[in-house]
Every structure is written in structure tokens, then in C-alpha cells.
């Protein structure tokens, strides 16, 4: 994957490719992706929204335009998911708040929340530490600094597989923690 990727990166940079043209040429594939991504009947709407965003701002030439478009579609779907769950939660809060009075965010609550947050930070730190220093390092580089797996492998002098496994391990533990905190 890595070598092919570098090659396409450079060839595409040399060409002034309009994103809109790439979008139109790959519309069917993007629609298929958005549908599979869970948009269902709204898939056409999502694609339309994408088109409008592309037309609205002139992004100029982009390296790897097709992956860029896919990522854009994926981000749109993540936004939809986020706003849907937020709406759900709001409605749920509303239903649970007897009499419909919104809770007043008092000073006490903020202190309480800070304590909970500090507790969560400690837990996350412990989970990550238990995975071992290399796994922790790989995870931080990847998730917090946004460095790609190939680059991390190169920097550490380990194989890509090792980095992939470290990340899988770290993600498994960290997501499990995150989901557990959610239900607490």
C-alpha cells in the first residue's frame, strides 16, 4: 500500500485536477459508499450536499483527489451521526426532565465534573501505560499527532505490521474504556 501511495501522490500533484471533475467521474462509487456508510435513502442528498460544498469553495488542485473526496463523504456521514445522536440525547434529556425544566449548570456541578474528568484522565493514562511504552508511544503519535502508520514504523525502525498491531491493541483498550465511561 505504502509504495503505491507515494507514487500516486507525486503524479497527481503534477496535474491540475479539478476536484469537481473527479467528483463527477466517481459519483456512482461515492454514492455507493455513502449508501453503504448508512445514509440509506438519504444517500442522494448527501452526495448533493457534497457537490454544493465543492462548488462553493475553490479548493484548487488536491493531492490524491479521490481519497480526498471519500474522506469528505466519510466526514459528512460522521457529522450526520453526531448530530443525530446529539438530537436523540437532547430529546431523551427533555423527556427525563420532569416538567421540562432545563437543569441549571450550577457551580457545584462544574466542580463535580472536573473531579470526574480528572478521574477519567487517570484511568486512561493507566490503561495506556499498561499496554507498554512502545504501544503508548505509537498510539500517541498516531492519534494525537496525526502521524501515519508507515511514518511511525519508519521512525521506530519496526515493521508496519508491528505498528498496526500496537494500534489495534491500544485502540481496543482505549475504545473499551471510552465506551465503559459512557455507560457509567
Amino acid at each position: 500500500m505504502a509504495t503505491g501511495l507515494v507514487a500516486s501522490h507525486w503524479t497527481v500533484l503534477g496535474m491540475a485536477t479539478g476536484l469537481s471533475a473527479i467528483f463527477l467521474a466517481n459519483r456512482a462509487a461515492l454514492l455507493r459508499f455513502v449508501r453503504a456508510r448508512g445514509a440509506g435513502d438519504d444517500a442522494e442528498d448527501v452526495i448533493q450536499e457534497m457537490w454544493m460544498k465543492l462548488e462553493a469553495k475553490d479548493l484548487g488542485p488536491v493531492a490524491d483527489p479521490l481519497p480526498y473526496l471519500y474522506r469528505m463523504a466519510n466526514n459528512l456521514m460522521l457529522d450526520r451521526y453526531r448530530s443525530a445522536t446529539r438530537r436523540e440525547r437532547r430529546e431523551q434529556d427533555w423527556a427525563e426532565g420532569a416538567g421540562g425544566v432545563m437543569a441549571d449548570p450550577s457551580e457545584d456541578l462544574a466542580v463535580d465534573e472536573r473531579m470526574i474528568l480528572a478521574q477519567r484522565l487517570r484511568e486512561a493514562e493507566k490503561v495506556l501505560r499498561e499496554l507498554g511504552p512502545r504501544v503508548e508511544l505509537v498510539f500517541r503519535r498516531f492519534r494525537l499527532e496525526g502521524v501515519g502508520q508507515r511514518q511511525i514504523a519508519e521512525d521506530l525502525g519496526v515493521s508496519l505490521t508491528t505498528v498496526e498491531k500496537d494500534l489495534q491493541k491500544a485502540y481496543r483498550a482505549m475504545l473499551a474504556l471510552r465506551l465503559r465511561l459512557d455507560t457509567e
Binding site: F33, A36, G38, M77, L78, R120, A124, R134, V158, M174
Partner: protein, 315 residues
Amino acid sequence: MNGAEAMIHEAAIGWVIRTRDPEFTDWEGFTAWLEADPGHAAAYDALMAADADLPSLLPENPVGMPEPANDPGERRSRPWRWVGGGAIAAALVAAISIGSWNRTDIYSVTTRPGETRTIALEDGTRIDLNGGTTLRLDRKNMRFAALDAGEAAFTVRHDAADPFRVTVGEAVFEDAGTVFNIVHASGATRIGVSEGKVIYNPQAEAIALPAGRALTDDASGLHLMAVAPEAVASWRQGSLVYANAAVGDIGQDIARSLGVRLTIAPGAQAMRFTGTIRLDRNPERFFATAAPLMGLSAVRQGDGWVLKEGHGPQS
């Protein structure tokens, strides 16, 4: 979570990681996975939402790579691990940034005759060193070891994409899922495989050694033979198991395992032995039992021992 859900969860984590990578391009592959089951998109969305919260959960302190404690002067004979709790804590004190790691990555681990040591590598691989052994390891590449002298048993965490390689002189042994033992002494190399498979010189001869196979490489060339899997690295359980082995080789094994100076009389060198010899830290007691077992006699000579033909009286 039932089995199917757990599998989806696990696969979804993989896609969260891949799609998060700035270099990710396999969107068709991702589409195919999503299309395989409507539950896939839901699992991915839930995990991506959890992933979005991770930065708020992570403190800022940096970490360094572990610096394996490797000072034989201080840690003489007790078995040690690098990645046990204490070692991690110690390693974290020296937080080194990525750019400034030193390049002295190769280091040696040595045991004196009679001393054994176990090394646990971070990837789950375990290396047991018998006495009189020198092994070189690479901090930067945990899937590598060089056996310079002596005997070591490797219990390798197999990874087809990143095989574990042991070099012995010019020869390379590559694991294919494996427990194996290598002896390197007096210009000869012997390897026995008890589990899985080892490839000898994958770039040249590429001889596959499945469990129950042994290979010797000495002045007379390469020889393949059968070996009882339970006999491989039996020294770890305190015994030496042989099938038609040359007494000369056995003598080296004994010397290494017990830490005694042992000479094999010329007449006994080429004799063969089949059976199990129990190791005993007390040389007198050991030779009193072992020598007759091999049809030999043991004689004390200076600070060492001599094994010779015949059932002569022991002194």
C-alpha cells in the same frame, strides 16, 4: 457481546484505525466491508464517535522507548525480563524523543557456563539461554537474534508478515510458528524444532524444518535427521534427551549446562548414545549416574572432568 458482534467490533476497530491514517486510500475496500453487513456502518459510527473523544482523555506527557536493562555485571545469574513492571517504570524515567535515539541498538547477552537466563521480548517471544552462551539482540528490531556461541531455545510469537530470524554465523533460521533450539559450538551448528516450523537459510537452501526435525551444519556438511520434539531444549526441564547422538556433542551440552570443564577422551568422541540424562548441579553426583548410563567412566582431572571408555573406577 456475542461472537458475531465481537468480530464486527474487532473489524470496526481496524477500519477506524485505517481510515484515520492520513495515507489511507483503500476506500473501495472499506465500501465492500460496509456493504457486507448493515451492522458494520453502525459499529464503525459508534467507534468513531468514541474515538473523537479520546484526545480529551489523554494526558500530555510524552513517553520514551524502553531501555532494556542490560548490565550483566549487576544482574548476574537471576532470570530477568525487560518489559516487566519495574523495567517499564525505569524506562519511562528516561523519556527520549524520537529524533535522538542512539544507534547502539545491538547488544549482547551472555551467560557463564552453568548459568541460564530467560529473556522475554516485548512481542511475546521468549528466549532461554543455556550456560556459556552469547546472544546478540537488536533494540530496534525485536524479531532478530544472533547466536554467537552456545545454546538457546526460542519460543517465538509467530508473525507471518514479520518472521523471527536467528542468524548463526552465515546461516539464517527463520521461524514459521515455532519452538526451536539452536546449539552453536566448535564450528558446528545444531538446530532442533519441537513446534511449528523453521526455515534454514530462506534466501539460499530454504530447507523447511518441521517439528521433529533437526539439522546439523558442521565441517562434514549439512545433515538432516529426526529428533523427538520433547527432546528439543530439554535442558530447560533439567534433562538432556538424545537419540543416537555423538558423545562428543553430548559432552559439550553437559559442559554448557552444568558449567564444568569436560574433556571427552578421543576413543569416546565418536561413540553414540540414546537416552535421557538428568542434569544435576553437583558434578560428582551427576557423573556417578550419567557416565555409566552412557557406558563410560568419568574421571576427575584438575578442575575438570574427563569422560572415557569403559567402566573404570571413579576417582
